[in-house]
Every structure is written in C-alpha cells, then in structure tokens.
C-alpha cells in the first residue's frame, strides 16, 4: 500500500481557530483518556460475573437503604469508581427501575468541545454491559440528565426486562408459593417472600396475579439452571478480614499471599474468559465452521 502521507487537514492551514471551547490538545488528551477507560472496561468486566444468589438479594431489596446495604450494590459502586466512571450512587428506585447519579462525572470531561447535550455514552454502555453480562439481567439504560447539558448531576435510568429479572429473582421457595404450596420456611421469611412477590406484581391480595399466572405458565416450560460460584468481591473481603485478624504486617502478608495463590489456583482450574461471553461464542462459531455458507446457514438457524 502506498503511504498516503498526512491527511489534507493537517498539511494545509493546520491549527486554525477552534470551532468551540475545547482545544485540539484537550480533545486529543480526552480521546486517549476515554480509550484508557474503555480498556479498563474491556479488561475487567469479563471477570466481574455475579452469582444469582447475590443478584437475588439486590432485586429483593425493597428500599434504597436496603439496596445500598447489599454486597452487590457496594461492589458495583466501587467497581465503577475504580474503573474511572466516577462516584455513582443509587438515588431513586421502583421495582425493576433504578436511577443512578454521578456527581462531577469524569466522563463529561472526555468531551471538551461539546456542550448543551447529553454525552455520557461510556457510562450508559457500561451500566448496560454490567447488568447484562455480569448480572445476566436484560435491560435498557438511558442517560436522563447530564452535566454537559446544563444539569447539576448526570443521571442514568436503568429499566430491567421483567422476564429476565423474574428468572433470576425467584428461588425454589418463591416458585412453590406461586404454585400454591407452602415452602419449608418460617413465618417471617414467608411473609417477606409474599411481600416481595406482591411488590413484583406476581401476587395480588395473596393470590396469583394475571402476570404471575402467565409467568408460571412460561417458567414451568422453561427450565433454567443456576450456576453457583463465588462473587467477584470474595477475594477482596477475605484479604481485608485477614488484615483485621493479624496484628503484624508479616503475619497478614503471609496469610494474604496464601489466599491469593489459592485463588489463582482456582482460576487456573476454571479460567475466566478474558473476552465477553458473546465474543467468545462468536470466535468459537467462526473457528468451528468450515465455510462461510455453512456458517451463515447455522447463524440463520440460531436466530
């Protein structure tokens, strides 16, 4: 290929007046910073899968305070902050609908030249990916307010797809209740469960609602298997508990090393994907199939 040299805009009248507030240097730096953030997301999201029992506790928490107290919520907020998505907080909640806010959102700084519009695509996509890939909850995510659009704070609305929320939220005891059987649990737990099922519109006045009846019709025909594994915050918690238990640095360091090595051994036995599940599936499909025609036929079948 012939070297095309520099594009014309760099060779003629380069460095003319900026068209808006953001300078060339600022924009170049901002693009690099956004690339670094996206690299963090690509590296870390595939290793942050959360088991259903934790997501279930998150889904069943019925007030903002209860949600904030769940390990999943704390992990989610720390995780996003470590990645560079700012100090996110849940500010509003209704079952299957969440509004998160990010004060001083660092993502806004990636667009020095843009104003009077919402810009936080990176946060919107990250929230969608976290819920979809790490929690297995289908959803839609929309930025509803943005600092760049003149609002005080950036706000993101997450709406869960009910069918996917139900699949994860309902444990065997919930399904027994919906099927008209009393599960082997104490009265208080039963009351809590009935309350949660009522909040989620599956029960109405103690009876199966129309939604509940349709869901059970669906669920009795669609068996889903729950995978059991450790939550991604387990190692961090173990390390901090070791630090609390040991009075000397040496003792704590030795115990921590042992824990980390054990964790690495587990990871070798069951390697975590370094790419998203979707990508991995596509790569496998691409490798397995001999011809493109065959592949297309298979894809058509799979759709």
């Amino acid at each position: 290929m012939t070297d095309p040299g520099l594009p014309p805009f760099m060779t003629a009248s380069a460095g003319g007046p900026p068209v808006s507030d953001g300078s060339f240097g600022q924009s170049m730096g901002a693009f690099g910073a956004l690339l670094k953030l996206q690299q963090n997301i690509s590296d870390r999201f595939p290793k942050a899968k959360v088991p259903w029992n934790e997501t279930r506790d998150f889904l069943k928490a019925s007030t903002i305070e209860m949600i904030r107290a769940t390990p999943l919520y704390r992990f989610h907020m720390d995780f996003f902050q470590e990645i560079g998505l700012g100090n996110m907080q849940l500010i509003s909640y209704a079952p299957m609908h969440y509004i998160y806010a990010v004060p001083n959102n660092p993502v806004c700084n990636f667009y020095p030249a843009l104003n009077n519009q919402k810009v936080c695509v990176a946060t919107t996509d990250a929230l969608h990916r976290f819920f979809r890939e790490d929690l297995e909850l289908e959803c839609s995510v929309e930025e509803i307010e943005c600092i760049k659009n003149g609002n005080e704070i950036c706000k993101f609305k997450v709406d869960l797809q009910p069918i996917s929320a139900y699949q994860i939220m309902l444990d065997e005891h919930d399904k027994m209740i919906l099927s008209g059987f009393k599960p082997p649990i104490d009265e208080n737990e039963l009351k809590d469960k009935v309350r949660a099922l009522t909040v989620y519109k599956l029960l109405e006045n103690g009876r199966l609602s129309e939604i509940g009846s349709a869901y059970m019709q669906f669920a009795s025909n669609m068996k889903v298997e729950e995978k059991i594994f450790d939550p991604p915050w387990k190692l961090k918690e173990e390390l901090s508990s070791i630090a609390d238990k040991h009075s000397t640095f040496g003792g704590a360091f030795g115990a921590m090393t042992k824990t980390v090595l054990e964790q690495q051994k587990d990871e070798t036995a069951a390697p975590q994907p370094v790419v998203s599940e979707e990508t991995q599936k596509l790569q496998e499909e691409a490798k397995k199939t001999d011809s493109f025609a065959e592949l297309l036929a298979k894809m058509k079948k799979d759709q």
Binding site: M1, P7, F9, I41, Q117, E138
Partner: protein, 203 residues
C-alpha cells in the same frame, strides 16, 4: 446538505488517529454483510470529518452527513468479521453521500469500522454525542428470541408480552413481524413447525 471536509479546512481540528480495519461503503442486506473488501488503514477523527487512508490518498465522511453511529451489529456480521479479519468488534456508521445517479440527491451508505474492543467502543462513545445520538442502550437482538420463548409456552396476550419483555408496542410489533417473516409463528402467535424446531434447538 452534503459537503466535503475540504471546505472547512481552516477550522478542522484533529481529535484522534487510530489504526483500524474498515469498509468505507459496505454492501449489507438486513443482517447479512456481502462485502469482503476490508482495508487496513489509518483513521483520523476531527471535529468535522472522519478521514480514511485509502491506497495513496484519503477519503472522508463528513460528520454532518452521519445519520447513525453504533446501530446494533447482528451476529452474522460479527462472525463474518471474526473470520475475515480476526475481530468481532465492529462499529456501524450510517451516512449520506452524494448520489451517483441523481444530481443534488443523497444516497445512504454504510461504513464498517473494526478493531480491538476498547478502540471501537471509544470511537462509538466519542462519535455518538458528536453526531447527535442520545446516550441510550437497549439490547434489541434478543427480543425476537424472548418473544419466541414466550409464545412457545402459550403466553400470547400482547399486553402481558409488552410487560414481560419490557418493550413498547412498536418494538413488540416489529419483533412479531420479524418472527412471522421467518415463518416461526402464525398470525395468532402459535408456533409453526419451524418455530418449534427453533425452540428445541435453542433449548
């Protein structure tokens, strides 16, 4: 209106330079990609244009001619990119360009950009606000599949389907139309033999 990048040269400011693989004008029909002419090259993003190195020169897509950035990439396209160029991370850019048939008219065209995941997502996150796409994300590709599952279990009341799948009326209607066109179900929502077969395979 269609313009070229050259008319704004004095104001043009570079934002990023990336190495990637692209098809400037892809031939696509529905979920299928018929082009194979991926080019390895350099892309400059400026406040006005996308500049693609091609052969010994440059071609542009003015940002003001871009109608959509980042529409959902169907699996067959991602798989084809994976097989051809070794990555499934593709950004679709729909744009208008001067029609070669009617003077003064514009024709729609599609460019595909491919590269590593972080770079493609960065381009998307940068270009969407620049081209006026609001930050919103909904997974649409699985809606057909979810609808087929629901129909297969006999749940076919539109209001319940709208609630369960969490979509609006139009999206559900489109999805239903798509299943009908693929001969997966009849007008009442009952699965055809093809639809039953599909469900068995998905399970």
């Amino acid at each position: 209106m269609i313009t070229t990048g050259f008319s704004h040269m004095a104001q043009e400011q570079g934002i990023a330079k990336v190495d990637l693989t692209y098809i400037y004008k892809a031939v696509m029909m529905g979920n299928s990609l018929y082009s194979d002419n991926w080019e390895k090259g350099v892309l400059y993003l400026t406040n006005l244009n996308l500049w693609f190195s091609e052969g010994g020169g440059w071609i542009t897509i003015p940002l003001k001619n871009i109608s959509m950035v980042g529409r959902e990439v169907a699996d067959p396209i991602r798989v084809k990119a994976q097989r051809t160029i070794g990555t499934s991370h593709v950004l679709i850019i729909d744009y208008l360009q001067p029609s070669s048939v009617v003077e003064g008219a514009a024709a729609s065209a599609t460019a595909l950009l491919a590269g590593n995941e972080a770079m493609i997502n960065t381009l998307k996150a940068y270009l969407q606000p620049m081209c006026g796409t609001p930050p919103k994300k909904q997974s649409l590709s699985d809606i057909d599949k979810k609808l087929l599952y629901m129909l297969s279990t006999g749940v076919n009341d539109p209001q319940k389907l709208i609630f369960f799948i969490g979509v609006d009326n139009d999206t559900l209607a489109n999805s239903f139309k798509s299943l009908r066109e693929q001969n997966m179900c009849d007008t009442s929502g009952a699965l055809t033999e093809e639809g039953q077969k599909q469900i068995m395979e998905m399970m």
